[in-house]
Each structure stands twice: as C-alpha cells, then as structure tokens.
Amino acid sequence: MSKHVVVIGGGVAGLEAAGWLAKAGFDVSLVEKEETTGGHINNWFKLFPDRRVSGEVKKYLDGISINDRVKLLTGTTLTEFSRNSDHFRLITNHGKELKADAVIVATGFDLFNSARKEEYGYGIYDNVISSADLEKMFRNGLITMADGNVPKKIGMVHCVGSRDEKVGNLFCSKLCCVTAVKQAIEIKENIPESKVFCFYMDMRMGGAHYEELYREAQEKWGVSFIRGKVSEAGETINHRIVVKVEDTLAGRPLKMELDLLVLMAGMEMSKDGRRVAELAGLRTGDNRYFAPEDHHFGANVSNIEGVFYAGTCTAPMNITETISHSRAAVAEVTEYLKSGLD
C-alpha cells in the first residue's frame, strides 16, 4: 500500500508539492480552506518578470495536481494535529480523520493589510488602493479612481508593511519592488498619457530579469523613481491624494498631488499558518514565519520529524522559488518515507 501524505494549503506550493508527491507514488490529501485552489495566484493578473498571464501557471499546477492519487479537500481546515509513533492523526473541521505518514505544510502568506499603516489612509481616502486592488483593475481592464475617472498621475509606495518595525515586520518582502515596476509599466500600457512615480527606499531587484524590467520602466515607459518612503498621505478637497516624501537624493522634502496612490503591500506569515503552528507545535521565528531547521540545507525541515515546509510559509518567495522549494520538500518526504514506497 502507498504511503499517505497530507499537504496543508492548496496554493502554488501545495499544488506543486501534491503533484510531485503523486508522481513519486504517494497518495496525497490536499487540504485547502477555500472552495477553490490556487491561493493568491487567483488574484493576480500578470506575473513578473515576463508578464505571463497567471492563469497559465494555475493551468500548469492543475495539470500536475489533478489526478487519482491526489484527494482534494476544499473548504477544509484542521482542528487537531497529533503524532502517534510513526504516523500523524489530523482532524478536519468536518470531523473527518486523516491518517498521514508525512505532512507538508504549505500554508503560504497573507498580504499585509495596508490599513495598518494608518498614515496612508487605506480604507479612508477614496483614492488610496493596494497593489492587490490594482491587479483586480488590470484583470477588469479598467483602471479608475473612486469617481470612475481615469487617473493621470499615480504614485506607488514601496515597502508597505515590510522593513517596518512599527508594524512588527523587520524583513524585506522582496517581491514588492518588482511588482511595483511591473504594475507601473502596466499602468503606462493602459493609460499611456499617465505619469507614474515609484517611491522606494532601495530598489531590490534581485531576481532574474528584474533589473532589466526596472531599466525598461525608466527608459521605455518614463516611470519616475523617487528615493524616499512616503511619510504620510492626505486628501485634498478634490479627493486627490497629497503625499509627503523626502527626495533623499535631492536632500529635500517633496510634496506632490496624485490621482491614485497604490500601496505595495508586503507578505506576512498567514493567520492560518500561525494556527497550524500552534496546533502542531511547529516552531516559528522572530519574523513569525515557520522556522526551518537550517537555512542552507534544511530549508524544508521542521522541528517535528515527518513534517516539512514548502513555499512562502517560511519566507517571502516568488513563484519560481516556491516551486523549487516545494519540489525540495517532496524530495525530503521521499527520503523520509523511503522504506514505504510501492
């Protein structure tokens, strides 16, 4: 009989892990709290750096994860998690018991709630939106202000909820810079006559082809980059957004009115991940993410034997990295359950 692996989370990491576990000959139960799989990828329209439509990635993930060996449990969360000698006993919110030989935790991330940065007025000022809200607009092919008009002057605030002790996130979410550049270009494509400004602390363009995209945004699209974090936003009588920022390279404070302000929300350990951590007794780090046993050669290994991590539940990652991390988690499971393969 095949060994049974439970994967917690049906986003990119979970689907990839489930698909590769099935390929490796394991029976898989994939637990997903939502009614559909895919997680955050469903909310994004096009992906950096090559602007691939996110649906293509979802299609690929479905392709490898939808098969006889993977049992999909949507609308499902866990209420109990215990380990008995050589197997795990998991109880779902529907009262169902899952017996597992190994577990992959792929609970992903939550997008930072921009309202927590009170000074930007998200949820208060009409024309302050988040990067996720902008993606929805891209998907609908219509970028508008609250009054339905097309914005002509747009600002993007980097590092919202990242590198910020005030909100308890000391880490860099590392994808927001490239997301801002990608979104700035998409705004210019949709509204060619618009002016787009990126307010950044550092441009962290560390991934493959990121720097090139940044250069394209400057050279081809004329996106302006102003080094300085927006300190506060206010609303004029005409519902335009006034930002105050220091242009640190000019060494002077700068004030500007904008039609639309986009907050580049960072990534955080998900609430559900924290719940699983508590339920299972999994160790988390100072950054609240799951803490792998070793940063170099144990990035998938947890403090509980037989439980492994995949994807952004351990740190911010892009899709490429998430997929590699998931495959590595499957390799760890395979090694752990070696004796029990068909």
Partner: protein
C-alpha cells in the same frame, strides 16, 4: 473619504478615562493666553456635570516647558512631576487631569520611563524624599482635560443651549480640529482615536452638531516648538508652520478651529494677525480670519456661557463671526469690560446646579 475606515481606527484607540474625583492641574501659560478656559473647565465639571475636581494651591509648573525648551534635565523634570503626584496622593486623589498637553505628554513619558526602568522611579522617590520629605503614588488614571470633556460630550450635548450649526442655513459649522503634538504623537495608544486620526476633539465637534474637516496638513505642528518660538530670530519658522496649515485648510472654508493645547490656539490665533500684517493674507471667509477656540471655550459656548466670561475678548482673531453663526446672544459693548461677569450665576436652565 470613508468614515467607516476612521471608525475602525477609532475603535482601536480607546482609553480609560476616570468618571469622577479628579486632581486637576493648571497649565503655566494657558492662564495668560486664554484665561477663561480653565475657569470654564472647572465650572463645567463642577456646576454642570457635578463632578469632584480638586485643585491644590501648591501645584507648580510640571517643568515640561523647560524640559522641551532644553533647560530642564529629565531627572529634574521627574522629581518635579513626582512632587505633583505627591500633592495628589496627599489630597487623597488618584485620577490626575492636566490642563496642558505638554504636561500630559511629559507625565505619560515619565510614567512610561518608570514602568520600564523601576530603578529610575526609585531614584526619583529618593530625590523627592530628600528634597521635600514627600512620598507619592503614580496616578491610577491619567487623562488630559480634553479627554474628560470628550468623555462627557454627550452629557454636554444634552444640556446644550446652542449647537455648532449655522443658525441661518441650518448647515453644520465646518470645524478644523487641531491636536497638540504631545497629546498622542509620542504615545498613540494614550490618545482617544490614536495619533493619525485623533478623535478627542472630533468627537466633541460631531456630538455638538459640527462637521470635522480633514485637510492634508492636519498633522502638522502649529510651529510653537518651545525653543523655536522663544528665540525671536526663529519665529519666522514658527509662523511658517501655521501658515502651511492655513494654506492647506483654506479650500475647505472652515468656520472655526478647535484646539486642545496651550500653544496651538495661541499661535494659530496670533499668527493670523502676523501673516496678515506681513503679507496681507487672511484665510477665512469674507476676508476674515478663522476664529480659533479652546475646547473649553467651545463647550462653554455650547452650554450658553457668556462669550466674554469665557475670555473670547482675549483672542486676536475675532470670534464674533462664529458667535453670530451659532446665534449666540451677546452684548458687543461688554467685550472689553472686565469689571462685570454676566454669568456669574449659572443659568437656571442647566440642571444639576448647586451653589458652591
């Protein structure tokens, strides 16, 4: 602007404000700037709300003005503050209510220091004991006087004779609420509504019929800054701060400004005169100034106190436009007659009246 967003933030910043038995401490400078305000507070508390408010004759400056003016070291400030607390303790009170925002900020800061560094508190206790022989308890409840008025804003509204409404048009008056920097910027959790969207004055304005204006420079300091203003050569920077605010609020056509700090009403009021003298600019409607009030003055007006008893004649920017809009009856001839006090006796239509 979405009010729900603000309400969500306000709900996160609630603070405990004692219900009665207050030990009240006056501000050093308010008695000179706006001498009617603290008297109005005491009258409202004692005669309208029927609360026990105690004042101690031995109370001194908290030394905050010197601390922020860079002439009083923190150890000295802590010992002076400890002495004030000792007066409260000796008088048998536990709820400390400063009139001054900077005092409130300093008290908050010192209590916080003592909380994190108990050895510093011990040192202060020793210093106070050696210097004065006194001992003190840390207040159980520390609230700024505007917090207390905020707490009873509904009770005041219930007894209101006038509303913050333009009597002729029925429209709510447009009110700029300006919060003293030391109220919540240092410790957002100690202010009603937090530091970004303070609710302490906005709550009063809403309750008394007015409409709060949210303008881009609402967080900007009035420019007082203690040392900055105290040196004459630096005053250009001080007045420029107020000017930034006026320029920013002007498009919203505010009828009035309400404040809760000793310095802010002084500077927002006086600088309007200076700016007009220097540049010929005014920021209110019909080329008038924008009247600036303390929250006690506004509460007093709402309750029907005589404007001249509230000390409105001490304002440099005339308050009459607001009085007229609210439909307040007043005698213009009494404005500068300080020998009479019209409402010496509280008006009989206010309940809970008791003679003291």
């Amino acid at each position: 602007m979405k009010q729900e967003g603000k309400k969500a933030i306000w709900s996160e910043y609630q603070k405990e404000i004692a219900n009665d038995k207050y030990f009240y401490v006056r501000s050093c400078i308010r008695q000179n700037f706006f001498p009617g305000s603290e008297v109005a507070f005491l009258r409202i508390m004692r005669e309208v709300l029927w609360k026990d408010v105690y004042e101690h004759p031995c109370h001194t400056t908290c030394s905050g003005i010197g601390y922020h003016g860079d002439v009083v070291p923190v150890d000295t400030a802590m010992t002076v503050v400890a002495r004030q607390f000792a007066l409260m303790t000796e008088a048998g009170y536990k709820n400390y209510v400063p009139s001054c925002i900077t005092s409130f900020g300093l008290y908050t800061e010192i209590i916080e220091i003592w909380h994190h560094f108990p050895d510093v508190e011990e040192r202060t206790r020793l210093q106070l004991k050696k210097a004065t022989g006194r001992e003190f308890e840390v207040p159980e409840n520390l609230a700024h006087a505007s917090d207390v008025i905020y707490k009873f804003r509904k009770e005041i509204a219930a007894k209101a004779k006038y509303k913050l409404v333009n009597k002729n048009t029925g429209e709510p008056l447009k009110v700029v609420d300006h919060i003293g920097c030391h109220y919540a910027k240092m410790f957002p959790s100690k202010g009603v509504g937090g530091a970004e969207y303070p609710y302490v004055l906005a709550g009063m304005v809403e309750e008394w019929g007015g409409e709060v204006i949210d303008y881009p420079e609402r967080r900007h300091c009035c420019g007082f800054g203690f040392r900055q203003y105290l040196v004459q050569a630096n005053r250009g920077f001080s007045v420029a701060c107020s000017k930034e605010k006026f320029e920013s609020m002007k498009p919203f056509k505010p009828d009035m400004i309400i404040t809760n700090c000793p310095g802010c009403p002084m500077f927002l009021d006086r600088w309007q005169y200076v700016i007009n003298e220097m540049e010929g600019k005014r920021y209110g409607k019909n080329n008038e100034g924008i009247p600036v009030f303390t929250y006690e003055e506004v509460a007093g007006l709402v309750l029907g106190f005589d404007p001249w008893d509230l000390g409105l004649q001490m304002h440099q920017t005339d308050c009459e436009p607001v009085l007229q809009k609210m439909g307040i009856e007043y005698d213009p001839d009494d404005k500068y007659r300080l020998d009479i006090r019209k409402s010496n006796q509280i008006s009989p239509d206010l309940v809970n009246v008791r003679t003291r």
